[in-house]
Amino acid sequence: MTTKVLAIDDSRTIRELLRMTLENAGFEVMSADDGVEGVDKFTEFQPDVVITDINMPNMDGFGVIETLRGDSVRTRVPILVLTTESSADLKARARDAGATGWINKPFNDEALVSVMRRVAG
């Protein structure tokens, strides 16, 4: 069974990059344009890993983490946040909300796959 990844980002470019990189690495990828759609797709597809952008319309990445970790969903699926701001601040906030780890944009294939392996095997 392949590992299913849900990629949530409002940038089509980033979504496509994630898809290409992860699919090449053997993951199955589905994507969502914003937090609200992301949470919907999570319940629909039951992915094994979630990658989410932070700054998005409708519901931001923190909202995604809080919803997925919150009482209504309560998942323990790894959630990785994408961030260009590698400021410790944002990462700490994401972690406090329940994020598993982070991926720094711009990412390269190796770094992305390496992070994926640490959280998803």
Partner: protein, 714 residues
């Protein structure tokens, strides 16, 4: 799948983001600087930066980053947007557009301009934060691990690390899985793990979500401690972790220490499901009996603001191929209908309803397909906002642009080809139309000039209006210039409208000195030709002191039009129905002669000039005295009503417009061609250009021929 297609995606997305940026900035400049608007602008720039980073477009990343940081300041209420900053933001947005375009075409941009804007942007950014953030933005080093492919060495002196790892409950809550961490460690060297289950309580008191286990790991590796720690980067604070270097023979000591040991080596790195046992041992914290509960959260979903409806991106070539094929289908349908009517001996009524259905279906398909190419004029109008800003800055005038009907949809080609004419007209309006503030105030107007850009659908056409509230056309000056340039005769008596229309003559320029803004050797004639090439026409009206309005009228689609099939000099041709007011079979006495050649039609008390279409097209015609003729009364923007003399009218039908210019260049008096039911090509006459010969007649005679020809070219 190729990197290039993602690059294309990026640039396509950039277009949308830049549009959103411009829209957001415009809203802000109009006083709407709520959080969501500022956030949307921030996101647009941020997404451009994100994508640009992936393609190592460093200039773009750097610029977007500074730009974004300024917005971050605004977002966090540390910075208030005043007029000066607003202008700078617009400039930065324009430059960002340039940078994206440059990156797309792989061309350099003006580094000085960029530096200039950057310097100004930086003034709004607290320096420290900027530098720190900048480091991040330009840091292309992955924070993730570089997996070195080195196999665990056979080097006997490999140091061994002792890792004590006790996950907290939160580690599991954050979605971590110790097994995966161990696998990553195992890739660094030789790993041995020992599980300590001492803390496991009795079943009655067992809390499935608590973390009871701890591990003692021994890793023999050439990697340093930092590398090992980096694997635990994400779990920092979610576990008790101690790493120390161990002395002595790693293998022996490990062996002795392992009581309940699990050896994780490469053999265990098989897919997850195969090492089920390992997993179950390693992960007692999993609430095993109960599957993870997932409750759909749809119910609590935030009402999504009405966003754009879902779209599908299709290669334009495919659409055009489809449009072509549908065009053929329409022609085929017409041919079939014609052939059927020619076959003798069959009762057409039997197939009539099927033929009619075929016709309707074909039209439906065609309309549907044409709608694919339709796009809102919004991006085009937004580009004009930039032109207004730049032109206003260049002329030190205060001008704002108002747009109406941005969502009016027009064929994609129209949008593309209107950009230049509109740019020219907008520049003209700012440069020549709008007065300087002092003068405006003197005449009781607001100090800000307004240019209005309006699009609307009107009876099968698209109307685009460019209106300024400036001083209006200076007719005396126009007349004077036209005279000086030999465009009109000395004693020509022209109506106001005719004088205004002189602007469209080739080589006309109203600027007494050529300003570097609009006077780039391009006149309104170029605008007129560009519009004519799209099958449209442009007209002008002006009220002194109140302003000038240009109206561009374009056919809704370029590919199909309603035509009247006519005969001219033995040739079958098509006249666009939109231009025809009525067709007249003149009674004897309704046609009067003027001199030897000119003829006038008397209609409802008016005398309307008659133009021989055949003569105009350079085709021989039979003697006009004695043949049956039909007159098409056309209403033109410039010449008022005219009657076009043709041999006969046959039919009215929709025709598929085929461009002639690619195969045969531009043909005066003809706008395009079509294929009729019999498979033959028919010329579609350009009524507007044919009637212009009347305007040209007023021009000085030596220039006449030449002028007429240039005018008619499109």
């Amino acid at each position: 799948m190729s990197g290039n297609s993602i690059r294309d995606t990026f640039f396509e997305e950039c277009e949308e983001l830049l549009e959103a940026l411009d829209e957001g900035l415009t809203s802000i400049s109009e006083g709407q600087n709520d959080n969501e608007t500022v956030n949307a602008v921030f996101r647009a720039v941020h997404s451009i930066k994100g994508g640009a980073g992936a393609f190592a477009l460093d200039d773009l990343v750097e610029f977007a980053h500074k730009f974004e940081t300024v917005f971050d300041e605004v977002r966090s209420d540390r910075l208030v947007i005043d007029d000066v900053l607003m202008a700078l933001l617009f400039r930065a947005s324009d430059h960002l557009t340039d940078l994206v375009e440059a990156a797309r075409s792989d061309e350099p941009t003006d580094a000085d301009v960029r530096r200039g804007i950057l310097t100004e942007l930086i003034k709004y950014i607290p320096s420290e934060e900027d530098e720190a953030a900048e480091m991040d933005a330009i840091d292309f080093q992955p924070t993730g691990l570089d997996f070195s492919m080195d196999l665990p060495g056979d080097d006997a002196e490999q140091p061994t690390y002792l890792i004590e790892f006790k996950p907290h409950r939160t580690l599991y809550e954050h979605g971590h899985e110790p097994l995966f961490l161990f696998r990553c460690l195992a890739e660094l060297g030789d790993l041995k793990a020992q599980l300590n289950t001492d803390a496991l309580p009795l079943f009655e008191t067992f809390d499935p979500e608590e973390s009871y286990l701890e591990w003692r790991l021994e890793l023999a590796t050439d990697e340093d401690e930092a590398k090992i720690r980096s694997i635990f980067e994400f779990v920092d604070g979610l576990c008790a972790l101690e790493i120390s270097e161990k002395a002595g023979d790693p293998a022996a000591s490990a062996q002795e220490a392992l009581t309940n040991a699990i050896n994780i080596d490469d053999a265990d790195l098989a897919p997850v499901e195969t090492d089920f046992e390992v997993e179950s041992v390693l992960d007692p914290s999993e609430p095993s009996p109960e599957p993870e509960k997932v409750i759909p959260v749809k119910a609590q979903k935030v009402a999504k603001p009405a966003g754009p409806s879902p779209t599908l991106r299709v290669d334009l070539d495919r659409v055009d191929r489809l449009i072509n094929t549908v065009g053929e289908l329409i022609i085929n349908q017409a041919m079939l209908t014609q052939r059927m009517s020619e076959i003798e001996g069959i009762d057409l009524r039997e197939v009539e309803s099927e033929l009619e259905d075929y016709k309707i279906l074909a039209r439906d398909i065609q309309e549907g397909v044409m709608a694919i190419r339709a796009q809102p004029v919004k991006p085009l109008f937004q580009r004009m906002a930039r032109i207004v800003r730049e032109a206003a800055a260049a002329t030190s005038k205060k001008v704002k642009l108002e747009t109406i009907g941005e969502n009016t949809e027009v064929d994609k080609t129209v949008i593309e080809r209107l950009a230049d004419p509109l740019t020219h007209m907008i520049r003209n309006a700012v440069d020549h139309g709008i007065e300087v503030s002092e003068k405006r105030v003197e005449t009781g107007k607001s100090d800000f000039g307004t240019i209005t850009l309006k699009a609307a659908h009107r009876s099968g056409n698209v109307n685009i209006e460019i209106r300024d509230d400036g001083a209006g056309l200076n007719r005396e000056k126009i007349y004077e210039i036209a005279l000086k340039k030999g465009l009109i005769k000395e004693d020509a008596e022209l109506t106001d409208n005719e004088i205004d229309n002189l602007l469209f003559l080739p080589g006309f320029s109203t600027a007494s000195e050529v300003s570097n803004l609009s006077g780039r050797g391009v006149g309104m004639d170029v605008v007129k030709n560009a519009v004519a090439a799209l099958g449209g026409r442009v007209s002008i009206s002006s009220v002194p002191g109140e302003g000038t309005t240009f109206m561009i009228v374009l056919p809704l689609t370029l590919a199909v039009m309603d035509g009247m099939v006519i005969s001219v000099a033995g040739q079958t041709m098509v006249a666009p129905i939109s231009s025809i007011v009525e067709s007249i079979r003149p009674e004897k006495g309704a046609v009067e002669r003027m001199g030897t050649r000119e003829r006038l039609l008397s209609i409802r008390g008016n005398y309307v000039p008659i133009i021989e279409v055949a003569e105009h097209l350079g085709l021989m015609n039979a003697d006009t005295n004695d043949r049956s003729e039909v007159l098409l009364l056309v209403e033109t923007e410039q010449s008022g009503q005219c009657a076009l003399a043709v041999d006969a009218i046959h039919d009215q039908r929709q025709v598929v417009v085929k461009s002639l210019s690619s195969a045969c260049g531009n043909v005066p008096g003809v706008s395009a061609a079509t294929i009729l039911g019999d498979g033959k090509i028919a010329m579609i006459i350009d009524t507007e250009s044919i009637t212009q010969s009347l305007v040209a007649n007023k021009a000085a005679s030596p220039k006449m021929t030449n002028l007429e020809e240039v005018q008619n070219a499109s």
